[in-house]
Symmetry: D2
């Protein structure tokens, strides 16, 4: 009697830190909330430290552990591999899993380099021809407010996009005495705020507008170059603390982006504002249940940004949850994400965001780093049309 | 390897509508998030319609169903009964369960009448002597922002309480064509907005202040007296659509309360503002991760209400969840609630809010109805000291 | 070349404290901003202390001073008397001025008692038959946001009014050591927060809804009964510190009102929220350029309270000021007020709010005090229809 | 008796459109509100169209008109010249007035080119040696919230500045059918959103931080290239519609700036956020009476951005106005501005912002245009130290 959601699919999750915890939560609950074509089973948890992995598996509810991800990928009871490791191992794990015929959900940024991302995208395309699905975990697409904004923009309600401004502000490095972590090492994380936070707002902006970034002018900075490594020594910070860039979109919009871990008092201010010819939208993840929408067609004396509580029956993903005004939290976005992934697998379609979408973000990140290293010079993003990739006034 | 949280305890849940769904979610996840002394097992779901109950059990993950709550209470594999039915059956189920030695979590309001609530409180006190625990499900106490406000007030940071203003505003009855439900029938629900919404703000205000309401002056209203019953006829609305009352607290504070389902545009505006001699707080559930706090000791030119994001490591319940700024939602409050209940059971202590706390709220609701029926005349709340229960003037 | 606004009219202003200063500012500027049919001239300032009055006259730009208001009223160069004294002298000055054929603007509350207000209203009606105009200075009607709300409600955009909630929260008495002032003496001020702040929200609520309050149930309180009088002794506070009341309106709406000087952290939170069958509005004077409007006809998934910046060309009073988004302040409301008064004088019509409107507010204040002294019992407001003046129940 | 503020000084104001109106308002009221060492007299208004200028003079209260600014500057009764014309005539008028020994207040941006601004700064320095004072009208420095932020930053409360983000968003060109104005012609206005709006945020950011911008990377755009000229033809828009740029400050902070007239729904969103090592501030002119301040020294569980209502007695400029919570509007900033100018003249000191400050802003605007025309390449700002003027990387 405890079944729901049809045929079972074994989930093998690699990585058991923050992302591993929240992904587990999603897999555990998704079929209890949504009508899914498949019932996920928490088959195996992967991690290099056996004791820690076993403790995490017991906590999260996994049936088994593996200390080598290759063994996890090879398990017969694993039909889907969820990659929650640091970026330096994404390509190896994801490609191996796809080649083994396992569906793959991979955390963002897709990889640490464009080259890795390209190989992953190739593997994903090849796997898709065999019915094996892949998705990159840009969970902010699954915030109901942003999903609804995308719907409105896609319906033409915003008109032509003129301005995009996106920031992702955190403050956990404000304190110069905060310790080193793998997130501050280029060899593990690829980049700093740029890949961790900037990747989210690049994807979110491309998702909501339905357009691509064609070029950037960028600046990066590292405020604190050494931090205590926990062993009494100083570790070297080899990534950016902040990245800012200007950009243009395929449709002619101009944009600014900023990612930082030094915005004292801002905890998770993933913000997106878009001004179009017909309407404008604004969003701040710190108030994630609200979408602010200005409809330019409202009479001038009655126009204003509306605070839409995105908890109504007609809003995406809300069918699974609670009545209006009973807001959702961060983890719900992951439950939505895996619901969408299971739906695509069940339907035999390619889910979004695809590895190609992840590659597109990676190319933007690469252009940002290239520009920042070259006097902020305008840098086209590979794979977008040259005609729009020009900078500066007229 | 899939165990966590120690010894198992079977949960028998009666009722499978909105509250049943959200309680199930909490029982399913609590030990995956918090360190609980007991591991809940979703043993049995109770409901009168067998087909619907079976479907719900499959969806939520219960192992069995019962169509008579007496059978559910009697099951050997049920150690805890969770009462999520309309108010008219709370007393019977809860008392039977307590007498059978089962711990009881009961939805609010505790009962439909003071007399029922008194019997339940008697039963709860008797059960406690046998180590059987009971709790009433005022989940808003488990909103981290309100839990933190309570901590600050308890620490003396607010000083003496002078003003309390509380509203609980919804709008789902704004449309005069919205259909009848059991919530609009006095025989099932006891009262309307008063018991459903007013009970929450009465408990929350008493919880955060640590004081009791001593008397009230009240007004109730039913705007729409007949609604379509779904069978082509008109059903009679026999409860209040809105209840407003003034009140005094044991410490001398004055207060206003308002509950309504007709505040067009307000979806779940459960709001509480308290002004003290040293500080003030404000809260709105529509922005549930925020506590607004004004510290009167700040220099005049730098003082202001602070928007505290209640997602920091030191905030109550946050140890189980995500990093700062990654907000929680409505369902998390239930996970906190059952975590606290399991902790109390494990520790052999009486949890709060107790059935006596539920009874105190019931007495306030009763005083409200009494006053509203008697020209809004000041009406003392039974069980609070007479000295403070005076109204008007100075 | 320095003339504007047509024929000159001499203004005699009695009182030179806070209200005198802001009224002077309005008279000095009104014809420079708006097209007025008359050009005000600051003819004479009245005050009992000659030295202080002379200093104030020089500062504000008055041509002469008078230490006896009778002399000011009698001056040939004074065609309009502006009464900015404490409430105990309103009736005497205003009635004498009206009888002398001078137009009268009188600060609120109109008087300290209903009896005084009635005599003033009689005098005003008599004067009007001779073309002499009178107005009571409820300046919040001239906040563009509230003027626009009134327009929308008057146009039927809100539908039937169901809920009104109004508060006027200040905190300047929070400190128990704050000194005595005339505002805390019943003989001078009539009442405390009730008359000073409560009068404003009563008038504003009646203005915006276009309805009258028919009855109230009330509670008042004095938290600090003695305060230092500046001479080393303790003065007795003989007015209310706070007044709260429930109310019903002629159209069937229910309401709550609260006025206090003890809401720590709230500086001038004159708030009004109205929920109707078609729309809702919300306003807070601390953000006075914003009107929040929820249109119930918006599609459910796009509905929300709109933050309307009331600085658009089509908004009332904005024709005289600055471009959109360039907000106004407190003093502008007085400039609007005297512009409306001059316009009415020029057109030979009776301006609003009239002394009768002031009397209506006075009767509500009286009912509040009566109820508060009688166990909060429901108390009809004199002059409203008995049929609606019933309380409680259904 | 109508005098206040000491010796009289005749004001000659050139230009009678929007800026002329609001400056007149300030000159008319400043000595009625503040204690000024000089009493301004509205001596003469300058404008090329005699009829229009005469009408404006009558409206604003000027005693005379001049149709040639040279005649206005030459008048004996003019001791101070206030330049409110388009930017192309600033240099000629201001330099002539300074050379004639008249104090000069000049609207922003100081000039249309760096060369003009340099000549003006030279003239101002020379005049200062003769006791003739000059000031550029960056009125946002006189918003009490920004003045208070500057004080806090100057006192060290913010620590080292790490991030600056500034936007100035309007929407009056969103409609592609909005007509041509002189503001869209490069020969009159110098630039578009850059000089009109960008100049304000550059000055405000440099003012509040106390630091200078050392280099920029920029992008400008013109969305609508032709607009109806009112004569049935299409006028060519020869300025930017929007300008965005990244920047670095002398102290090492990184920054982003954006000015636009196409942000649909944003009416006057002049926003500034600064994150430091000890605190953060945020401001939005659409809520101009609020300063948001996050104090990093607050305990983690009680920290949050404080909404400070900048209307307290200790706040700058508030001594002249109303009690706490009674907010100010746009025009008050000009009254503050001329109060500060008169105070400096009276004290014989050089006021800020000086023409040199205006020149510094002009150099930033020039660097922005240079970078935008050169593939957004990093462009140092003339006059700032080379050591800090490097971009990109680390």
């Amino acid at each position: 009697m405890s079944s729901a959601g049809g045929e079972r699919i074994g989930v093998g999750l690699v990585g058991h830190a923050f992302m591993g915890a929240v992904h587990s939560h999603a897999w555990r609950n998704v079929h209890r909330i949504f009508d899914t074509p498949l019932t996920p089973v928490l088959a195996a948890l992967g991690g290099r430290d056996e004791a820690k992995t076993k403790a995490a598996a017991a906590k999260y509810g996994f049936a088994a552990v593996e200390t080598d991800w290759r063994d996890l990928v090879a398990r017969d009871d694993v039909g889907l591999v969820d990659v929650c490791t640091p970026g330096d191992s994404h390509a190896a794990i994801a490609i191996a899993a796809l080649e083994a015929g396992k569906h793959v959900l991979c955390e963002k940024p897709l990889a640490n380099t464009v080259e890795e991302a390209e190989r992953m995208a190739v593997a994903a395309r090849a796997a898709a021809t065999r019915g094996v699905r892949s998705m990159v975990a840009f969970n902010y697409r699954r915030v109901p407010a942003l999903a609804h904004a995308r719907k409105l923009v896609g319906d033409g309600a915003l008109g032509e996009v003129r301005h995009v401004r996106a920031t992702y502000l955190q403050d956990w490095l404000s304190d110069a005495a905060a310790p080193m972590t793998w997130r501050l090492r280029k060899d593990k994380a690829g980049s700093g705020a740029l890949g961790d936070l900037g990747a989210h707002i690049v994807d979110a902006a491309q998702f909501v507008t339905g357009e691509l970034i064609t070029g950037v002018s960028a600046l990066t900075n590292t405020f604190v170059k050494h931090r205590p490594d926990g062993n009494g020594a100083q570790g070297e910070v080899t990534v950016d603390d902040t990245a800012l860039f200007l950009a243009r979109f395929t449709g002619g919009a101009v944009a600014s982006f900023e990612a930082t871990r030094y915005a004292l008092g801002r905890k998770n201010a993933m913000r997106l504002e878009i001004n179009g010819t017909k309407a404008s939208m604004a969003f701040d993840f710190e108030s994630m249940n609200e979408l602010w929408w200005h409809d330019g067609a409202d009479p001038g004396t009655e126009a204003g940004f509306r605070r839409i509580l995105v908890t109504e029956p007609g809003h995406r993903y809300l069918e699974g949850w609670w009545p209006p005004g009973h807001g959702l939290g961060y983890d719900h976005t992951f439950t939505h994400e895996v619901a969408d992934f299971l739906a695509a697998i069940g339907a035999g379609t390619d889910p979004a965001p695809s590895f190609d979408d992840g590659l597109r973000v990676q190319r933007v990140l690469h252009a940002v780093e290239t520009s920042a290293a070259d006097e902020a010079r305008w840098t086209p993003v590979a794979g977008t049309t040259a005609s729009t990739a020009t900078a500066g006034g007229r």
